[in-house]
């Protein structure tokens, strides 16, 4: 299985919606560009910067993130090796929509963060 295929399987397993090449038209969605993806966990890695405010992936009900296929790494070890000691002010590893099991241990989606996470896979380059 390639890294991209592994990413898709794991991201869908945690409840992400995967799109290829083109972002879905969703009104009021927050848009972000992922710095990396992690195949092992199906995570997208977001780094805060002037162009990437934290709130875009936090406050809207729906979060759409763009991820280039060649930015997908195997997992956490490779992520921190790639980042080195030069870390952004806020690095968020996001794995699926916000969830909680605090009421009777039952899974509820969308407690504080987005209820839906859409990952748009873009071709390398």
């Amino acid at each position: 299985m390639t890294l991209v295929e592994e990413f898709v399987v794991n991201a869908e397993a945690v409840g992400c919606h995967i799109h290829r090449g083109k972002a879905p038209e969703l009104p009021d969605a927050g848009l972000s560009e992922a710095l990396y993806g992690l195949a092992d966990t199906g995570s997208v890695v977001l780094a805060a910067s002037p162009a990437e405010p934290r709130a875009n992936s936090l406050l809207p009900d729906v979060h759409v993130t763009l991820l280039r296929e060649d930015r997908i790494l195997p997992g956490l070890d490779e992520l921190f090796a790639a980042l080195g000691a030069d870390l952004p002010s806020a690095l968020a590893i996001v794995t699926g929509p916000s969830r909680s099991a605090d009421i009777e241990q039952k899974l509820a989606v969308g407690v504080h963060g987005p209820r839906e996470v859409h990952v748009v896979l873009l071709p390398p380059g």
């Binding site: 980042l83 968020a92 590893i93």
Partner: protein, 457 residues
């Protein structure tokens, strides 16, 4: 340390109440079973899990061997990034620092993300005294705050509450009846707390880990509340136990692989945030000020001596779920903050054996906690050592010491052993009427003493 000091009678009294409550027994059984099974499955599907646990143990112990050095490196790295670091020796120093910060900012409202250390230092009460209302934003903690109660489990703080009880609490806040259904309850809490995130002048979190090399703190949640609390308010204060440091982000990767798998069985939590300093030039959100309060509060007492391994704990909660004592008593019997085997070891070490002397006995010494610990802390051995200290320090009551002295005298001699078993058989009819036998036989039949151990009759 009023939050941590435990009267000797507390365990027995609270445990008795929980044992007699069938609903709580079911809730405890179901939730601990689920969390335990999820952890076992997650460990089983992680290649090389044993090597990873060993590696994690070594990383944690290396930090503890040079804790002062790590605190100094973390402080220098974070200050270079524009963050403020305050080292608090006591709970009072820590909560006063945060309260003073809130007072200086004129903060009416502080949003909090789940933090065990903030419970440990009694922060909410300290903030109330300077006129700052601290609102818990983790769903479980929010429910408990509305109920005026304390968390009973590290990763599932409100496991003893039913949907009906939650509905009553949330309905009282909004003034509108919320039906006891999961989706309605979640939406009600989301709406109520969204205002808190947007209005709070100060955001308060704990820290799952700190990284000495980079001055970063790492926060993990599933709900996203720690991300909101550390992103929206103009000031972010993170309170971190001094032992939470890791040397590098490569070490952080190792511990992150174990933390969520051991806590909830997830490969990774939904949100893992690594924060390095406050908002930078050109960024449109994130806190203008970042403060990290590093808390000692008795932790340096553990540095020398055989209990230092307890400082390796990463607060995953795995030991609670497998403990036959916790699974019956729940968390409240131990303390308002820490519970289960990790709490039974940690609390007496932080406050002194005298102040929590019932806790080393809250264990069957079966070793399930040790087997479940991702960083390989020998929890049941430490509990046994604490019992030894209780005897050595003569903290145990006189009748207990006399009783065990006589018992060990009698049973180290064949004639003494034979005599006691003969006496026991003679006294059999009385055994269920007085003393411990009476307590024991309240809900079950006493077994008969055998003539000889091998006979079984």
């Amino acid at each position: 340390l009023p939050e941590l000091v435990q009267p000797a009678s507390r365990f027995r009294e609270i445990a008795r109440g929980k044992l007699g409550d069938a609903r709580i027994q079911t809730a405890l059984d179901e939730s601990t079973d689920r969390l335990r099974t999820h952890r076992e499955d997650a460990w089983a599907s992680l290649p090389g899990v044993e090597e990873l646990r060993q590696r994690a143990h070594e990383i944690r112990m290396a930090v503890i061997d040079d804790l002062d050095g790590h605190v100094a490196r973390f402080t220098a790295a974070l200050e270079a990034r524009g963050g403020h670091v305050y080292f608090a020796r006591t709970a009072a120093e820590a909560s006063e620092y945060v309260a003073e910060l809130c007072r200086r900012r004129g903060a009416k409202l502080a949003a909090k993300s789940q933090s065990m250390v903030s419970e440990e230092i009694g922060l909410n009460e300290a903030l109330e005294r300077v006129g700052t209302k601290a609102v818990e934003t983790d769903l479980g903690e929010y429910i408990l705050q509305l109920a005026g109660e304390h968390p009973v489990h590290i990763v599932a703080p409100a496991i003893e509450k039913t949907a009906g009880q939650v509905a009553e609490l949330l309905s009282a806040v909004g003034g509108k009846r919320v039906p006891p259904e999961l989706e309605a309850l979640t939406n009600a809490a989301r709406t109520q707390l969204r205002e808190t995130f947007l209005q709070a002048e100060v955001g308060i979190t704990g820290a799952n880990f700190g990284v000495s090399e980079t001055g970063s703190i790492c926060l993990v949640t599933n709900e996203g509340n720690a991300r909101l609390v550390s992103s929206l308010p103009p000031v972010h204060v993170a309170i971190m136990g001094m032992e939470r440091l890791l040397p590098t982000t490569a070490d952080l990767a190792v511990l992150l692989k174990l933390l969520a798998r051991s806590g909830t069985g997830q490969k990774i939590t939904v949100y893992t945030t690594v924060l390095t300093g406050p908002r930078r030039a050109g960024e449109t959100d994130g806190p203008e000020e970042l403060h990290v309060v590093i808390l000692d509060n008795g932790r340096t007492n553990l540095l020398r001596g055989r209990y230092r391994e307890m400082l390796a704990c990463i607060r995953c909660g795995a030991c609670l779920n497998v403990c036959p004592v916790y699974r019956k008593t729940g968390g409240a019997a131990y303390s308002d903050v820490y519970s289960g085997p990790m709490g039974a070891v940690l609390l007496p070490l932080l406050v002194g054996l005298e102040q929590a002397r019932s806790l080393p006995h809250a264990s069957s010494l079966c070793g399930a906690c040790t087997a479940a610990c991702p960083v390989k802390i020998p929890l049941h051995e430490l509990l046994l050592d604490l019992r030894r200290d209780l005897v050595a320090e003569r903290v145990a009551p006189w009748w207990e010491r006399v009783g065990f002295t006589l018992w060990s005298f009698a049973w180290s001699r064949p004639w003494g052993y034979r005599m006691t078993t003969r006496l026991a058989r003679l006294g059999q009819p009385l055994a269920g009427l007085v003393g411990p036998g009476r307590v024991w036989s309240r809900g079950r039949a006493l077994p008969r003493f055998a003539r000889r151990y091998r006979d079984g009759r």
